[in-house]
């Protein structure tokens, strides 16, 4: 605790770097995945291809990807851009499948009703498909958030600044306190991000709890968890 108080500016700076490295890929991944999923969902051959490629990309270990990317991107090994690109790849690999599932979860009758009411395709997508797919989409986003926050720390091994540096530094100096502070800080980041995503989901999907009892937080984290376990379930077949 004393160590933390003495070094809190450093820890907060590292936490800031950590958050940027974890969040930017999540947002980029979402922005890439939604159009990709919407487009490939309608062509079964493309859908198969997207599913195969995304599960293949997902198999590449992060540490290896952080090193394979620099010569491909023309960046230096210390460049945070490598981390952002690598984590964006993972985010897309996970979210494109989640987004396809999310759009599939929208009741087709609702789509047809919207068409009958005169919705143009773009308006129908933005006002019907997208909002109704949010619950499944958020399950995917929560998985990405937790896994990104954990993966960013691996980049510290190569010298990219983030909370993972507390681990490498702690090991070199044989200083357990620093490692424990790092673990707690990362756990806190993950928990806070997850809570923010849950709140955001509730704000964006008010209809899901209309007339229902208070949703069980544990069951919800279970949903994200199962979504994670299923990333490969469909892919291998």
């Amino acid at each position: 605790m004393e160590w933390f108080l003495a070094n809190s500016p450093m820890v907060f700076e590292r936490a800031g770097q950590h958050l940027v490295l974890a969040l930017v890929p999540m947002v980029l991944g979402l922005l890439i995945s939604i159009p990709l999923a919407q487009f490939s969902r309608r062509h079964s051959a493309l859908r198969q291809l997207v599913a195969t490629v995304s599960s293949l990309l997902y198999t590449i270990p992060s540490l290896a990807l952080f090193i394979i990317l620099p010569p491909l991107l023309g960046t230096r090994i210390l460049d945070p851009l490598n981390v952002i690109v690598a984590l964006t790849i993972y985010a897309v690999a996970l979210l494109v499948r989640a987004a396809m599932d999310a759009f599939d979860s929208v009741d087709d009758d609702l789509r047809q009703a919207a068409v009958a009411m005169g919705y143009k395709p773009a308006a129908r997508f933005l006002q019907i498909d997208l909002p109704l797919s949010l619950p499944v989409m958020f399950a995917g986003l929560r998985v990405v958030s937790v896994s990104n926050i954990s993966l960013v720390s691996v980049a510290a091994l190569l010298g990219v600044g983030n909370l993972g540096m507390l681990f490498t530094d702690g090991l070199q100096r044989n200083f357990v306190t620093e490692v424990v502070v790092g673990i707690i800080a990362i756990l806190l980041l993950a928990v806070v991000m997850d809570a923010l995503l849950v709140i955001l989901e509730r704000v964006l999907t008010p209809w899901t709890r209309a007339g229902s009892v208070k949703p069980d937080a544990h069951a919800q984290s279970g949903a994200a968890f199962i979504a994670d376990a299923k990333v490969h379930a469909g892919a291998g077949s």
Partner: protein
């Protein structure tokens, strides 16, 4: 010379394929660490997952614990175990076990609970004992989903074992960290490519095993039913995710 030609020159060099630091030895170390972790983790996660999936007891606790474990940073846990429990093989192995139990447990549990409850009830009505229901009905029917968890866990272990070289132990990760220290980028890149290739090959092997073991009726391979089955496998995760959220 281009970085890729240098890397392939490094990979093609016979010197790097023999001796105690050679690729075959490192590969074997990598597989040994991964196998050890997986065996210990499976011995813990599979029975617990089967029990929770079958009885539905302890579900909330298991999901909460597994979720919390999942947020633990891999690197932090490895370093913590190395510092507290000292050097050697077992501290990092135990750290890896802690990280591997959640996906295995979730996969097992999700697989068992994904089985249609009507099927389970029918099995009971036919007079099957609980263990027969579990191993004769629930496990075969839940196998496709269980494989999802197994493959996630295996990939995670292979990826994380690369980090173990930092502690320092063996495995293919050695090339990354030795290369980093020596500013030898072709060596780092070669090591990374080997790790990525290993992960892909192992995942392919598991996919092949999955095809062999999982009933054709579940895995969208049966002729004629292909289209319908594909649609089902795509809709299943969404359905499970939604169910998990409202149950």
């Amino acid at each position: 010379m281009n970085i890729f030609t240098e890397t392939f020159a490094w990979l093609a060099d016979p010197l790097h394929w023999s001796g105690p630091g050679g690729i075959p030895v490192r590969l074997l170390e990598h597989l040994q660490y991964s196998g050890l972790v997986l065996i210990i983790a499976a011995a813990i996660a599979v029975p617990v997952g089967l029990y929770i999936g079958h009885t539905g007891r302890g579900r909330v606790v298991a999901v909460a614990v597994a979720g919390a474990l999942r947020a633990l940073p891999t690197l932090g846990l490895l370093v913590l175990f190395a510092l507290v429990a000292g050097s050697g093989l077992m501290p990092p192995v135990w750290a890896l076990v802690i990280l591997t139990v959640p996906p295995l447990l979730a996969g097992t549990y999700a697989g068992i609970s994904s089985v249609d409850s009507n099927v389970v009830d029918a099995a009971r009505a036919m007079g099957m004992k609980e263990l027969q229901v579990l191993f004769g009905v629930e496990v075969p029917n839940g196998l496709l989903v269980m494989f999802g968890g197994i493959r996630t866990a295996v990939l995670q272990v292979i990826a994380t074992v690369s980090v173990v070289a930092y502690l320092p132990l063996g495995g293919l990760g050695r090339y990354l960290f030795d290369g980093l220290v020596l500013q030898d980028f072709p060596r780092m890149l070669a090591g990374s490519l080997l790790i990525a290739a290993l992960a892909m090959v192992v995942d392919l092997v598991l996919a092949a095993v999955q095809r062999l073991v999982v009933s054709p009726g579940l895995s969208a391979r049966s002729k004629g039913g292909r289209k319908a089955a594909t649609d089902f496998s795509a809709a299943a995760p969404a359905a499970a995710a939604v169910q998990g959220g409202t149950a």
